[in-house]
């Protein structure tokens, strides 16, 4: 690979794991981008994409564990995993504050609840948006 100018990417994930391959594609994209010296400013989960953030996901043992992959990615490369709070609470993905009881929360670090405006703020930051 020749030298490339580093680009800042923002990803918007809009489909749920298992039902669609979009999350797999997003994960591969992040890995490839980082390997080539680019950076990921945030991954934003919107629409059905918020299901990626549920800590209760239980894929079969021989299937890709999307949730763990997101957590690994976030911890290894300090990437913000931002979840649209309105889209998530509508779909029952809630943090300790929104859950009826704190221990019902299925949205935990490294995922964070934010507003849609946070996503657009990151876009303003000269990053290239990838929606999938």
């Amino acid at each position: 690979m020749t030298n490339t100018i580093p680009t800042r990417f923002t990803l918007m994930v809009t489909k749920s794991p298992f039902d669609a391959r979009n999350a797999h594609s997003a994960l591969s994209f992040c890995a490839a981008a980082i390997e080539q010296g680019h950076s990921i400013t945030q991954v934003f989960f919107y629409q059905k994409g918020v299901h990626n953030a549920s800590s209760l996901l239980q894929p079969n043992a021989d299937e890709l564990d999307v949730y763990s992959k997101w957590c690994d990615l976030a911890k290894k490369h300090a990437i913000n995993l931002n979840v649209c709070v309105t889209a998530a609470s509508r779909r029952g993905v809630v943090d300790a504050q929104l859950a009826p009881e704190p221990n019902y929360a299925n949205l935990v670090w490294p995922f964070t609840q934010v507003g849609l405006t946070a996503y657009f703020e990151a876009l303003n930051n000269n990053s290239v948006n990838i929606q999938l």
Binding site: G115, L116, T117
Partner: protein
């Protein structure tokens, strides 16, 4: 789980935990008066005007007006004297769009907006 209510004239009216009505069609002026009492707000003519305006906005657009939209809509109908955020802050210091929305019996505006 998660049920709260107020009682106005002997009628039980369901709200969310912050006091916003669950069913906006249960609203009337007496309900607004009751919410105002709970919020420690005295309902003057100016405040009623905004509450009814917010209610009309919702009927027209199926959307609770956030601050910017409320100011713009007020400007169009009532001119710059009332269509500005300072006027709304003076009437509803605790939330110039949120409080009239609540008094008008409407759902809380979406969190991320």
């Amino acid at each position: 789980m998660n049920t709260f209510s107020i009682i106005v004239n002997g009628v039980e009216i369901e709200t969310d935990k912050e006091g916003y009505l669950r069913k906006s069609e249960q609203w009337n002026n007496e309900v607004a008066q009751h919410i105002a009492y709970l919020e420690n707000i005295e309902m003057t003519g100016e405040r009623w005007q905004i509450v009814h305006f917010v209610r009309d906005f919702y009927t027209t657009y199926d959307t609770s007006p956030a601050m910017r939209a409320l100011v713009k809509a007020l400007q169009r109908t009532h001119g710059p004297d009332k269509g500005n955020s300072r006027y709304l802050y003076r009437l509803f210091p605790k939330g110039p769009a949120k409080i009239p929305t609540k008094l008008a019996g409407l759902p809380k505006p979406a969190k991320c907006l």
